[in-house]
Amino acid sequence: MSLELKGVTKRVGAETHIHPTDLTLEHGVFNILLGTTGSGKTTLMQLMAGLERPTEGEVWFDGADVTGMAVQKRNVSMVHQQFINYPNMSVYENIASPLRVARLSKGEITARVERMADLMKLTPMLGRRPVELSGGQQQRCAMARALVKDASLVLLDEPLANLDFKLREELRDELPRLFADRRCVVVYATTEPVEALLFAGNTATLHEGHVAQFGPTGEVYRRPRTITSAQVFSEPPMNTAPIVKEGDTFRLYDGTEWPASAAGATLADGEYVFGIRPHHVTLTPTGAHPVAIEGMVLVSELSGSETVIHFRHRAETWVSQSHGIHAVPVGEVAGLHMDVAQGLYFDRSGERIGF
Protein backbone atom coordinates (compact mmCIF):
# COMPACT_ATOMS: atom_id res chain seq x y z
CA MET A 1 0.00 0.00 0.00
CA SER A 2 1.52 3.31 -1.00
CA LEU A 3 0.66 6.86 -1.92
CA GLU A 4 2.49 8.38 -4.84
CA LEU A 5 2.65 11.99 -5.87
CA LYS A 6 3.84 12.36 -9.43
CA GLY A 7 4.89 15.88 -10.32
CA VAL A 8 2.11 17.32 -8.18
CA THR A 9 1.92 21.11 -8.38
CA LYS A 10 -0.53 23.53 -6.81
CA ARG A 11 -0.92 27.06 -8.03
CA VAL A 12 -3.53 29.53 -6.84
CA GLY A 13 -3.68 32.52 -9.15
CA ALA A 14 -0.13 33.68 -9.71
CA GLU A 15 1.16 32.08 -6.53
CA THR A 16 2.71 28.66 -6.46
CA HIS A 17 1.84 26.93 -3.22
CA ILE A 18 3.39 23.59 -4.03
CA HIS A 19 6.23 23.30 -6.53
CA PRO A 20 6.42 20.09 -8.59
CA THR A 21 6.67 17.32 -6.04
CA ASP A 22 7.43 13.63 -6.40
CA LEU A 23 6.95 11.54 -3.28
CA THR A 24 6.27 7.90 -2.57
CA LEU A 25 4.86 7.26 0.88
CA GLU A 26 4.75 3.67 2.13
CA HIS A 27 2.57 2.03 4.76
CA GLY A 28 3.95 0.62 7.99
CA VAL A 29 6.00 3.67 8.97
CA PHE A 30 5.22 7.25 9.87
CA ASN A 31 5.70 9.59 6.94
CA ILE A 32 6.57 12.94 8.42
CA LEU A 33 6.17 16.28 6.72
CA LEU A 34 8.50 18.63 8.54
CA GLY A 35 8.45 22.34 7.92
CA THR A 36 7.63 25.71 9.41
CA THR A 37 4.16 27.26 9.31
CA GLY A 38 3.41 28.21 5.72
CA SER A 39 5.85 25.74 4.21
CA GLY A 40 3.01 23.89 2.47
CA LYS A 41 2.37 20.94 4.79
CA THR A 42 -1.37 21.47 4.98
CA THR A 43 -1.72 22.13 1.25
CA LEU A 44 0.24 18.99 0.49
CA MET A 45 -2.07 17.02 2.79
CA GLN A 46 -5.16 18.48 1.13
CA LEU A 47 -3.74 17.35 -2.20
CA MET A 48 -3.08 13.88 -0.80
CA ALA A 49 -6.60 13.66 0.61
CA GLY A 50 -8.26 14.92 -2.54
CA LEU A 51 -9.72 18.01 -0.87
CA GLU A 52 -7.77 20.04 -3.40
CA ARG A 53 -7.00 19.08 -6.98
CA PRO A 54 -3.43 19.49 -8.14
CA THR A 55 -2.91 22.10 -10.86
CA GLU A 56 -0.56 19.65 -12.51
CA GLY A 57 0.57 16.12 -11.79
CA GLU A 58 -1.09 12.97 -10.58
CA VAL A 59 -1.87 11.30 -7.28
CA TRP A 60 -1.68 7.51 -7.28
CA PHE A 61 -2.84 5.24 -4.51
CA ASP A 62 -2.02 1.55 -4.49
CA GLY A 63 -1.14 1.57 -8.14
CA ALA A 64 -4.29 3.39 -9.27
CA ASP A 65 -4.66 6.98 -10.42
CA VAL A 66 -6.95 8.73 -7.94
CA THR A 67 -6.25 12.31 -9.04
CA GLY A 68 -9.83 13.06 -10.06
CA MET A 69 -11.52 10.91 -7.43
CA ALA A 70 -13.72 12.70 -4.88
CA VAL A 71 -12.45 12.70 -1.33
CA GLN A 72 -15.59 10.87 -0.14
CA LYS A 73 -14.66 7.85 -2.26
CA ARG A 74 -11.03 7.68 -1.25
CA ASN A 75 -11.24 6.14 2.22
CA VAL A 76 -9.12 8.81 3.85
CA SER A 77 -9.25 10.16 7.37
CA MET A 78 -7.75 13.34 8.72
CA VAL A 79 -7.04 15.05 12.04
CA HIS A 80 -6.48 18.80 12.09
CA GLN A 81 -4.46 21.01 14.37
CA GLN A 82 -7.63 22.74 15.60
CA PHE A 83 -9.85 20.34 17.48
CA ILE A 84 -12.49 19.70 14.85
CA ASN A 85 -15.59 17.84 15.98
CA TYR A 86 -19.24 18.10 15.00
CA PRO A 87 -20.52 20.45 17.70
CA ASN A 88 -24.14 19.37 17.35
CA MET A 89 -23.42 15.69 18.00
CA SER A 90 -22.46 13.82 21.14
CA VAL A 91 -19.01 12.26 21.38
CA TYR A 92 -20.59 8.89 20.58
CA GLU A 93 -22.29 10.26 17.47
CA ASN A 94 -19.11 12.01 16.45
CA ILE A 95 -17.13 8.80 16.51
CA ALA A 96 -19.96 6.86 14.89
CA SER A 97 -20.55 9.36 12.08
CA PRO A 98 -18.10 7.96 9.48
CA LEU A 99 -19.54 4.49 10.12
CA ARG A 100 -23.11 5.72 9.75
CA VAL A 101 -22.22 7.40 6.46
CA ALA A 102 -20.68 4.09 5.35
CA ARG A 103 -23.98 2.36 6.32
CA LEU A 104 -22.60 -0.19 8.74
CA SER A 105 -25.01 -2.25 10.83
CA LYS A 106 -26.07 -0.89 14.22
CA GLY A 107 -24.35 -3.66 16.17
CA GLU A 108 -21.11 -3.20 14.28
CA ILE A 109 -21.17 0.55 14.87
CA THR A 110 -21.76 0.18 18.62
CA ALA A 111 -19.00 -2.39 18.93
CA ARG A 112 -16.48 -0.31 17.00
CA VAL A 113 -17.29 2.98 18.71
CA GLU A 114 -17.01 1.37 22.13
CA ARG A 115 -13.69 -0.25 21.28
CA MET A 116 -12.36 3.05 19.96
CA ALA A 117 -13.66 5.02 22.96
CA ASP A 118 -11.97 2.55 25.25
CA LEU A 119 -8.68 2.90 23.39
CA MET A 120 -8.91 6.69 23.49
CA LYS A 121 -10.08 6.76 27.12
CA LEU A 122 -13.31 8.49 26.13
CA THR A 123 -15.80 5.94 27.48
CA PRO A 124 -17.09 8.15 30.34
CA MET A 125 -17.58 11.09 27.96
CA LEU A 126 -19.54 9.33 25.21
CA GLY A 127 -22.79 11.12 26.07
CA ARG A 128 -21.29 14.59 26.22
CA ARG A 129 -21.01 17.29 23.58
CA PRO A 130 -17.50 18.08 22.29
CA VAL A 131 -17.59 21.60 23.80
CA GLU A 132 -17.93 20.07 27.24
CA LEU A 133 -14.61 18.26 26.87
CA SER A 134 -11.11 19.51 27.62
CA GLY A 135 -8.79 20.28 24.71
CA GLY A 136 -7.02 16.95 24.99
CA GLN A 137 -10.27 15.03 25.07
CA GLN A 138 -11.58 16.98 22.08
CA GLN A 139 -8.51 16.00 20.10
CA ARG A 140 -8.86 12.38 21.24
CA CYS A 141 -12.42 12.48 19.99
CA ALA A 142 -11.26 13.81 16.63
CA MET A 143 -8.63 11.08 16.47
CA ALA A 144 -11.14 8.40 17.43
CA ARG A 145 -13.37 9.55 14.57
CA ALA A 146 -10.42 9.41 12.19
CA LEU A 147 -9.35 5.94 13.29
CA VAL A 148 -12.73 4.24 13.74
CA LYS A 149 -13.04 3.52 10.04
CA ASP A 150 -10.30 1.49 8.43
CA ALA A 151 -8.96 4.30 6.31
CA SER A 152 -6.13 3.39 3.98
CA LEU A 153 -4.68 6.89 4.22
CA VAL A 154 -4.51 8.69 7.57
CA LEU A 155 -3.46 12.33 7.55
CA LEU A 156 -2.46 13.93 10.84
CA ASP A 157 -1.97 17.68 10.43
CA GLU A 158 -0.06 18.84 13.53
CA PRO A 159 -2.51 17.01 15.77
CA LEU A 160 -0.56 17.74 18.95
CA ALA A 161 0.38 21.37 18.30
CA ASN A 162 -2.50 22.92 20.25
CA LEU A 163 -2.21 20.62 23.26
CA ASP A 164 -0.43 21.45 26.47
CA PHE A 165 2.98 19.97 27.09
CA LYS A 166 1.97 17.02 29.23
CA LEU A 167 -0.87 15.83 27.01
CA ARG A 168 1.34 16.19 23.98
CA GLU A 169 3.96 13.87 25.50
CA GLU A 170 1.24 11.39 26.42
CA LEU A 171 -0.38 11.29 23.00
CA ARG A 172 3.02 11.24 21.32
CA ASP A 173 3.73 7.97 23.10
CA GLU A 174 0.34 6.53 22.23
CA LEU A 175 0.30 7.43 18.55
CA PRO A 176 2.74 4.86 17.18
CA ARG A 177 0.92 2.14 19.15
CA LEU A 178 -2.42 3.12 17.60
CA PHE A 179 -1.03 2.45 14.15
CA ALA A 180 1.03 -0.61 15.05
CA ASP A 181 -1.43 -3.20 13.69
CA ARG A 182 -3.01 -1.13 10.95
CA ARG A 183 -2.40 -1.37 7.27
CA CYS A 184 -2.53 2.20 6.15
CA VAL A 185 -0.32 4.99 4.93
CA VAL A 186 0.20 7.45 7.79
CA VAL A 187 1.25 11.02 7.09
CA TYR A 188 2.12 13.24 10.02
CA ALA A 189 2.80 16.97 9.66
CA THR A 190 4.78 18.80 12.30
CA THR A 191 6.86 21.92 12.80
CA GLU A 192 9.03 20.30 15.47
CA PRO A 193 12.22 18.43 14.55
CA VAL A 194 12.07 16.65 17.92
CA GLU A 195 8.73 15.10 17.00
CA ALA A 196 10.09 13.89 13.68
CA LEU A 197 13.07 12.25 15.37
CA LEU A 198 10.77 10.64 17.94
CA PHE A 199 8.51 8.96 15.39
CA ALA A 200 11.43 7.97 13.15
CA GLY A 201 9.96 6.58 9.91
CA ASN A 202 10.51 8.73 6.85
CA THR A 203 10.73 12.47 6.79
CA ALA A 204 10.19 15.01 4.05
CA THR A 205 11.63 18.43 4.85
CA LEU A 206 9.47 21.18 3.39
CA HIS A 207 10.43 24.74 2.67
CA GLU A 208 8.29 27.28 0.82
CA GLY A 209 6.39 24.64 -1.10
CA HIS A 210 9.46 22.64 -2.05
CA VAL A 211 10.29 19.22 -0.69
CA ALA A 212 13.93 19.79 0.19
CA GLN A 213 14.66 16.16 0.97
CA PHE A 214 12.83 12.89 1.60
CA GLY A 215 14.22 9.75 3.20
CA PRO A 216 14.56 7.84 6.46
CA THR A 217 14.30 10.36 9.28
CA GLY A 218 17.71 9.63 10.82
CA GLU A 219 19.35 9.84 7.44
CA VAL A 220 17.71 13.18 6.61
CA TYR A 221 18.79 14.51 9.98
CA ARG A 222 22.38 13.33 9.87
CA ARG A 223 23.00 13.75 6.18
CA PRO A 224 20.95 16.74 5.00
CA ARG A 225 21.27 17.24 1.28
CA THR A 226 21.05 21.03 1.38
CA ILE A 227 21.32 23.90 3.84
CA THR A 228 17.55 24.34 3.60
CA SER A 229 16.91 20.76 4.60
CA ALA A 230 19.34 21.06 7.50
CA GLN A 231 17.74 24.32 8.66
CA VAL A 232 14.23 22.88 8.58
CA PHE A 233 15.51 20.00 10.69
CA SER A 234 17.24 22.11 13.30
CA GLU A 235 15.70 23.82 16.32
CA PRO A 236 17.18 26.23 17.42
CA PRO A 237 18.34 27.09 13.87
CA MET A 238 21.66 25.75 12.67
CA ASN A 239 24.65 28.11 12.73
CA THR A 240 26.09 28.79 9.30
CA ALA A 241 29.28 30.62 8.49
CA PRO A 242 31.49 31.17 5.45
CA ILE A 243 34.62 29.07 5.48
CA VAL A 244 37.66 28.71 3.29
CA LYS A 245 39.55 25.52 2.57
CA GLU A 246 43.22 25.90 1.89
CA GLY A 247 45.44 22.87 1.65
CA ASP A 248 44.56 20.69 4.60
CA THR A 249 42.96 23.30 6.84
CA PHE A 250 39.57 24.88 7.09
CA ARG A 251 39.58 28.53 8.08
CA LEU A 252 36.54 30.28 9.54
CA TYR A 253 35.85 33.92 8.63
CA ASP A 254 37.54 35.09 11.84
CA GLY A 255 40.69 33.10 11.19
CA THR A 256 39.94 30.14 13.44
CA GLU A 257 41.47 27.09 11.83
CA TRP A 258 41.13 23.35 12.09
CA PRO A 259 42.56 20.51 10.04
CA ALA A 260 40.46 19.14 7.20
CA SER A 261 39.66 15.56 8.15
CA ALA A 262 40.58 12.64 5.96
CA ALA A 263 37.54 12.95 3.72
CA GLY A 264 37.73 16.73 3.63
CA ALA A 265 41.26 16.53 2.34
CA THR A 266 39.98 15.52 -1.10
CA LEU A 267 37.97 18.70 -1.35
CA ALA A 268 39.14 21.33 -3.80
CA ASP A 269 40.42 24.53 -2.23
CA GLY A 270 37.87 27.30 -2.18
CA GLU A 271 35.01 28.94 -0.33
CA TYR A 272 32.35 26.87 1.37
CA VAL A 273 29.58 27.27 3.93
CA PHE A 274 30.08 25.61 7.29
CA GLY A 275 27.02 24.54 9.25
CA ILE A 276 26.93 23.37 12.83
CA ARG A 277 23.89 22.59 14.94
CA PRO A 278 23.57 24.50 18.24
CA HIS A 279 24.02 21.40 20.39
CA HIS A 280 27.46 20.88 18.86
CA VAL A 281 28.53 24.31 20.08
CA THR A 282 28.92 23.80 23.81
CA LEU A 283 30.40 25.36 26.93
CA THR A 284 32.50 22.28 27.65
CA PRO A 285 34.55 20.65 24.89
CA THR A 286 33.04 17.48 23.39
CA GLY A 287 33.80 15.20 20.46
CA ALA A 288 36.97 14.33 18.67
CA HIS A 289 37.90 17.79 17.40
CA PRO A 290 36.76 20.52 19.73
CA VAL A 291 37.62 23.95 18.37
CA ALA A 292 37.45 26.95 20.69
CA ILE A 293 35.41 29.98 19.74
CA GLU A 294 34.65 33.08 21.78
CA GLY A 295 31.62 35.27 21.76
CA MET A 296 29.77 38.00 23.62
CA VAL A 297 26.67 36.57 25.30
CA LEU A 298 23.46 38.25 24.04
CA VAL A 299 20.82 35.98 25.53
CA SER A 300 21.11 33.11 27.94
CA GLU A 301 18.05 30.98 28.60
CA LEU A 302 17.13 27.63 30.04
CA SER A 303 15.12 25.15 28.01
CA GLY A 304 14.40 22.18 30.23
CA SER A 305 17.79 20.90 31.36
CA GLU A 306 19.57 22.65 28.51
CA THR A 307 21.24 26.04 28.47
CA VAL A 308 20.72 27.95 25.24
CA ILE A 309 23.11 30.84 24.63
CA HIS A 310 22.86 33.33 21.79
CA PHE A 311 26.20 34.98 21.32
CA ARG A 312 27.78 37.46 18.97
CA HIS A 313 30.85 36.33 17.12
CA ARG A 314 32.19 39.12 14.95
CA ALA A 315 29.18 40.31 12.95
CA GLU A 316 27.33 36.98 13.19
CA THR A 317 24.92 35.71 15.82
CA TRP A 318 25.51 32.15 16.90
CA VAL A 319 23.42 29.82 19.02
CA SER A 320 24.85 27.29 21.42
CA GLN A 321 23.03 24.59 23.33
CA SER A 322 24.72 22.84 26.26
CA HIS A 323 23.60 20.09 28.58
CA GLY A 324 23.01 21.06 32.16
CA ILE A 325 22.26 24.39 33.73
CA HIS A 326 24.99 26.99 33.45
CA ALA A 327 24.93 30.54 34.75
CA VAL A 328 26.32 32.66 31.92
CA PRO A 329 26.14 36.42 32.52
CA VAL A 330 24.78 38.41 29.58
CA GLY A 331 27.20 40.90 28.08
CA GLU A 332 30.32 38.97 29.02
CA VAL A 333 32.59 37.02 26.76
CA ALA A 334 32.13 33.27 26.97
CA GLY A 335 34.44 30.57 25.70
CA LEU A 336 32.67 27.93 23.65
CA HIS A 337 33.68 24.85 21.74
CA MET A 338 32.58 23.64 18.36
CA ASP A 339 32.63 19.92 17.75
CA VAL A 340 33.75 20.35 14.17
CA ALA A 341 33.62 16.61 13.52
CA GLN A 342 29.81 17.05 13.62
CA GLY A 343 29.93 20.03 11.29
CA LEU A 344 28.34 20.02 7.85
CA TYR A 345 29.92 21.51 4.77
CA PHE A 346 27.96 23.00 1.91
CA ASP A 347 29.04 24.46 -1.38
CA ARG A 348 27.98 28.01 -2.11
CA SER A 349 24.77 26.95 -3.85
CA GLY A 350 23.68 25.26 -0.61
CA GLU A 351 24.28 21.61 -1.61
CA ARG A 352 25.98 19.55 1.04
CA ILE A 353 29.36 18.18 0.08
CA GLY A 354 29.19 14.46 0.46
CA PHE A 355 31.77 13.21 2.86
Binding site: Q46, A49, L51, V71, Q72, V76, S77, M78, H80, Q82, I84, Y86, P87, N88, M89, S97, P98, V101, A102, A142, R145, K149
Partner: protein
Protein backbone atom coordinates in the same frame (compact mmCIF):
# COMPACT_ATOMS: atom_id res chain seq x y z
CA UNK B 1 -25.32 60.07 46.30
CA UNK B 2 -24.67 56.36 46.10
CA UNK B 3 -28.25 55.59 47.05
CA UNK B 4 -29.43 57.61 44.09
CA UNK B 5 -27.43 55.58 41.56
CA UNK B 6 -30.17 52.98 40.89
CA UNK B 7 -32.47 55.87 40.14
CA UNK B 8 -30.73 56.63 36.87
CA UNK B 9 -31.60 53.39 35.04
CA UNK B 10 -35.00 53.43 36.72
CA UNK B 11 -35.75 56.87 35.30
CA UNK B 12 -34.49 55.79 31.92
CA UNK B 13 -36.72 52.74 31.86
CA UNK B 14 -39.74 54.76 32.98
CA UNK B 15 -39.01 57.24 30.21
CA UNK B 16 -38.73 54.44 27.63
CA UNK B 17 -41.84 52.64 28.75
CA UNK B 18 -44.03 55.70 29.08
CA UNK B 19 -45.40 55.70 25.52
CA UNK B 20 -46.01 51.97 25.70
CA UNK B 21 -47.78 52.40 29.00
CA UNK B 22 -49.85 55.17 27.51
CA UNK B 23 -50.83 52.95 24.60
CA UNK B 24 -51.81 50.16 26.97
CA UNK B 25 -53.63 52.64 29.15
CA UNK B 26 -55.65 53.96 26.24
CA UNK B 27 -56.48 50.50 24.98
CA UNK B 28 -58.48 49.84 28.15
CA UNK B 29 -60.35 53.15 28.00
CA UNK B 30 -63.41 54.14 26.06
CA UNK B 31 -62.91 56.65 23.28
CA UNK B 32 -64.91 59.21 25.24
CA UNK B 33 -62.54 58.98 28.18
CA UNK B 34 -59.50 59.34 25.93
CA UNK B 35 -60.90 62.46 24.33
CA UNK B 36 -62.18 63.81 27.65
CA UNK B 37 -60.21 64.14 30.88
CA UNK B 38 -56.54 63.43 31.40
CA UNK B 39 -56.37 60.20 33.41
CA UNK B 40 -53.33 58.21 34.43
CA UNK B 41 -55.24 54.95 34.45
CA UNK B 42 -58.60 53.92 32.96
CA UNK B 43 -61.50 55.15 35.09
CA UNK B 44 -63.91 52.89 33.26
CA UNK B 45 -61.84 49.78 32.64
CA UNK B 46 -63.07 48.06 29.48
CA UNK B 47 -62.12 45.07 27.30
CA UNK B 48 -64.53 46.26 24.64
CA UNK B 49 -61.75 47.34 22.28
CA UNK B 50 -60.02 43.96 22.38
CA UNK B 51 -63.30 42.11 21.98
CA UNK B 52 -64.04 44.12 18.86
CA UNK B 53 -60.65 43.29 17.34
CA UNK B 54 -60.94 39.57 18.03
CA UNK B 55 -64.51 39.30 16.72
CA UNK B 56 -64.46 41.62 13.73
CA UNK B 57 -62.81 39.92 10.72
CA UNK B 58 -61.79 43.26 9.18
CA UNK B 59 -59.62 43.71 12.26
CA UNK B 60 -58.28 40.27 13.09
CA UNK B 61 -57.70 39.31 9.47
CA UNK B 62 -55.17 42.13 9.43
CA UNK B 63 -53.10 40.18 11.93
CA UNK B 64 -53.59 36.93 10.09
CA UNK B 65 -52.52 38.51 6.79
CA UNK B 66 -49.49 40.13 8.35
CA UNK B 67 -48.43 36.90 10.02
CA UNK B 68 -48.84 34.95 6.78
CA UNK B 69 -46.71 37.20 4.61
CA UNK B 70 -44.14 37.79 7.36
CA UNK B 71 -43.70 34.05 7.90
CA UNK B 72 -43.58 33.42 4.17
CA UNK B 73 -40.98 36.15 3.79
CA UNK B 74 -38.86 34.82 6.64
CA UNK B 75 -38.84 31.31 5.17
CA UNK B 76 -38.01 32.53 1.64
CA UNK B 77 -35.35 34.99 2.79
CA UNK B 78 -33.46 32.58 5.03
CA UNK B 79 -33.74 29.65 2.61
CA UNK B 80 -32.31 31.72 -0.22
CA UNK B 81 -29.72 33.42 1.97
CA UNK B 82 -28.23 30.20 3.36
CA UNK B 83 -26.50 28.97 0.19
CA UNK B 84 -25.54 32.53 -0.76
CA UNK B 85 -23.95 33.17 2.62
CA UNK B 86 -22.14 29.83 2.38
CA UNK B 87 -20.66 30.82 -0.95
CA UNK B 88 -19.52 34.18 0.39
CA UNK B 89 -17.95 32.64 3.48
CA UNK B 90 -16.25 29.67 1.80
CA UNK B 91 -15.27 30.62 -1.73
CA UNK B 92 -13.23 33.36 -3.29
CA UNK B 93 -14.56 34.35 -6.68
CA UNK B 94 -14.24 37.28 -9.02
CA UNK B 95 -15.84 40.35 -7.47
CA UNK B 96 -17.08 38.56 -4.37
CA UNK B 97 -16.44 41.51 -2.08
CA UNK B 98 -18.16 43.95 -4.44
CA UNK B 99 -21.14 41.67 -4.77
CA UNK B 100 -21.36 41.36 -1.01
CA UNK B 101 -21.31 45.11 -0.62
CA UNK B 102 -23.80 45.59 -3.42
CA UNK B 103 -26.18 43.26 -1.61
CA UNK B 104 -26.00 45.49 1.43
CA UNK B 105 -26.67 48.62 -0.60
CA UNK B 106 -30.10 47.18 -1.41
CA UNK B 107 -30.99 48.07 2.13
CA UNK B 108 -30.06 51.68 1.61
CA UNK B 109 -32.76 52.56 -0.91
CA UNK B 110 -36.02 53.76 0.65
CA UNK B 111 -38.89 51.36 0.10
CA UNK B 112 -40.82 54.17 -1.61
CA UNK B 113 -38.44 53.91 -4.55
CA UNK B 114 -39.62 50.37 -5.23
CA UNK B 115 -43.30 50.88 -4.47
CA UNK B 116 -44.31 51.97 -7.94
CA UNK B 117 -42.35 49.41 -10.00
CA UNK B 118 -43.49 46.63 -7.69
CA UNK B 119 -47.10 47.76 -7.92
CA UNK B 120 -46.94 47.76 -11.70
CA UNK B 121 -45.06 44.49 -11.91
CA UNK B 122 -47.20 42.54 -9.50
CA UNK B 123 -50.39 43.85 -11.10
CA UNK B 124 -49.11 42.66 -14.46
CA UNK B 125 -48.44 39.13 -13.24
CA UNK B 126 -51.63 38.93 -11.17
CA UNK B 127 -49.83 38.86 -7.86
CA UNK B 128 -51.41 42.08 -6.62
CA UNK B 129 -53.20 41.75 -3.27
CA UNK B 130 -51.66 38.37 -2.43
CA UNK B 131 -49.53 37.41 0.57
CA UNK B 132 -46.82 36.23 -1.79
CA UNK B 133 -46.55 39.70 -3.33
CA UNK B 134 -45.68 41.33 -0.02
CA UNK B 135 -43.43 38.45 1.01
CA UNK B 136 -41.47 38.72 -2.25
CA UNK B 137 -41.27 42.51 -2.06
CA UNK B 138 -39.82 42.29 1.44
CA UNK B 139 -37.12 39.84 0.36
CA UNK B 140 -35.57 42.84 -1.40
CA UNK B 141 -34.15 44.08 1.87
CA UNK B 142 -34.38 40.92 3.97
CA UNK B 143 -32.25 38.61 1.82
CA UNK B 144 -29.22 40.94 1.89
CA UNK B 145 -29.64 41.29 5.62
CA UNK B 146 -29.93 37.54 6.14
CA UNK B 147 -26.92 36.89 3.88
CA UNK B 148 -24.91 39.40 5.85
CA UNK B 149 -25.83 37.96 9.24
CA UNK B 150 -25.41 34.33 8.18
CA UNK B 151 -22.09 35.01 6.49
CA UNK B 152 -20.77 36.28 9.81
CA UNK B 153 -21.83 33.15 11.64
CA UNK B 154 -20.60 30.84 8.88
CA UNK B 155 -17.18 32.47 8.77
CA UNK B 156 -16.93 31.71 12.47
CA UNK B 157 -17.04 28.00 11.65
CA UNK B 158 -13.58 26.75 10.62
CA UNK B 159 -13.29 25.47 7.07
CA UNK B 160 -11.71 22.34 8.49
CA UNK B 161 -15.15 21.28 9.71
CA UNK B 162 -16.26 21.02 6.08
CA UNK B 163 -13.10 19.15 5.16
CA UNK B 164 -13.45 16.74 8.07
CA UNK B 165 -16.99 15.95 7.00
CA UNK B 166 -16.00 15.30 3.37
CA UNK B 167 -13.13 13.11 4.55
CA UNK B 168 -15.59 11.22 6.76
CA UNK B 169 -17.62 10.52 3.64
CA UNK B 170 -20.37 13.13 3.88
CA UNK B 171 -21.65 14.44 0.56
CA UNK B 172 -22.11 18.20 0.37
CA UNK B 173 -25.90 18.30 0.83
CA UNK B 174 -25.75 15.83 3.67
CA UNK B 175 -22.99 17.75 5.39
CA UNK B 176 -24.83 21.03 4.91
CA UNK B 177 -28.08 19.79 6.40
CA UNK B 178 -26.85 17.37 9.05
CA UNK B 179 -23.79 19.16 10.35
CA UNK B 180 -23.45 22.69 9.09
CA UNK B 181 -26.98 23.98 9.71
CA UNK B 182 -27.13 22.72 13.31
CA UNK B 183 -23.71 24.26 13.91
CA UNK B 184 -24.93 27.73 12.92
CA UNK B 185 -28.42 27.34 14.42
CA UNK B 186 -27.89 30.49 16.48
CA UNK B 187 -27.17 32.48 13.33
CA UNK B 188 -30.26 31.15 11.60
CA UNK B 189 -32.29 32.18 14.66
CA UNK B 190 -30.90 35.70 14.53
CA UNK B 191 -31.45 35.98 10.77
CA UNK B 192 -35.06 34.76 11.14
CA UNK B 193 -35.67 37.26 13.90
CA UNK B 194 -34.48 40.22 11.87
CA UNK B 195 -36.36 39.15 8.75
CA UNK B 196 -39.47 38.77 10.88
CA UNK B 197 -39.04 42.15 12.51
CA UNK B 198 -38.35 44.13 9.37
CA UNK B 199 -41.17 42.53 7.46
CA UNK B 200 -43.53 43.01 10.41
CA UNK B 201 -42.88 46.74 10.75
CA UNK B 202 -42.67 47.58 7.03
CA UNK B 203 -45.80 49.45 6.03
CA UNK B 204 -45.35 51.18 2.73
CA UNK B 205 -44.81 48.21 0.41
CA UNK B 206 -47.28 46.08 2.32
CA UNK B 207 -49.92 48.74 1.95
CA UNK B 208 -49.19 49.49 -1.69
CA UNK B 209 -49.28 45.89 -2.82
CA UNK B 210 -52.50 44.89 -1.07
CA UNK B 211 -56.12 45.94 -1.19
CA UNK B 212 -58.47 43.60 0.67
CA UNK B 213 -57.35 39.98 0.60
CA UNK B 214 -53.89 40.46 2.08
CA UNK B 215 -54.31 43.75 3.89
CA UNK B 216 -51.81 44.00 6.76
CA UNK B 217 -52.72 45.10 10.27
CA UNK B 218 -50.70 48.27 10.00
CA UNK B 219 -52.83 49.32 7.04
CA UNK B 220 -56.00 48.52 8.93
CA UNK B 221 -54.80 50.71 11.76
CA UNK B 222 -54.36 53.72 9.56
CA UNK B 223 -58.10 54.13 9.16
CA UNK B 224 -58.57 56.36 12.16
CA UNK B 225 -62.20 57.27 11.63
CA UNK B 226 -65.20 55.10 10.89
CA UNK B 227 -68.96 55.56 10.73
CA UNK B 228 -69.06 55.92 14.50
CA UNK B 229 -66.43 58.66 14.54
CA UNK B 230 -62.91 58.37 16.00
CA UNK B 231 -62.09 55.02 17.54
CA UNK B 232 -58.97 55.82 19.50
CA UNK B 233 -59.46 53.06 22.06
CA UNK B 234 -59.72 50.49 19.33
CA UNK B 235 -56.57 51.78 17.66
CA UNK B 236 -54.70 51.66 20.94
CA UNK B 237 -55.74 48.06 21.45
CA UNK B 238 -54.64 47.18 17.91
CA UNK B 239 -51.32 48.92 18.54
CA UNK B 240 -50.78 46.96 21.74
CA UNK B 241 -51.48 43.69 19.94
CA UNK B 242 -49.01 44.64 17.19
CA UNK B 243 -46.20 44.86 19.70
CA UNK B 244 -46.91 41.39 21.08
CA UNK B 245 -45.43 39.18 18.29
CA UNK B 246 -42.20 41.17 18.27
CA UNK B 247 -41.83 40.96 22.02
CA UNK B 248 -42.58 37.25 21.84
CA UNK B 249 -39.93 36.58 19.17
CA UNK B 250 -37.34 38.71 20.97
CA UNK B 251 -37.85 36.67 24.11
CA UNK B 252 -36.99 33.45 22.29
CA UNK B 253 -33.91 34.66 20.43
CA UNK B 254 -32.46 37.00 23.07
CA UNK B 255 -29.48 34.74 23.79
CA UNK B 256 -28.74 34.21 20.11
CA UNK B 257 -28.81 37.93 19.46
CA UNK B 258 -26.22 38.44 22.17
CA UNK B 259 -24.10 35.86 20.34
CA UNK B 260 -24.67 37.72 17.09
CA UNK B 261 -23.42 40.92 18.64
CA UNK B 262 -20.40 39.07 19.98
CA UNK B 263 -19.56 37.90 16.45
CA UNK B 264 -19.55 41.46 15.22
CA UNK B 265 -22.63 41.13 13.07
CA UNK B 266 -26.19 42.39 13.67
Amino acid sequence: MKRLTPLVPALYIVFMLLPIYWLLNMSFKTTNEILGDFTLWPREFTFENYITIFTDPTWYMGYVNSLIYVSLNTVISVTVALPAAYAFSRYRFLGDKHLFFWLLTNRMAPAAVFALPFFQLYSAVNLFDTHLAVALAHTLFNIPLAVWILEGFMSGVPKQLDETAYVDGYSFPRFFIRIFLPTIAAGIGVACFFCFMFSWVELLLAKTLTAVEAKPIAATMTRTASASGYELGLLAAAGTLTIVPGAFVIYFVRNYIAKGFALGRV
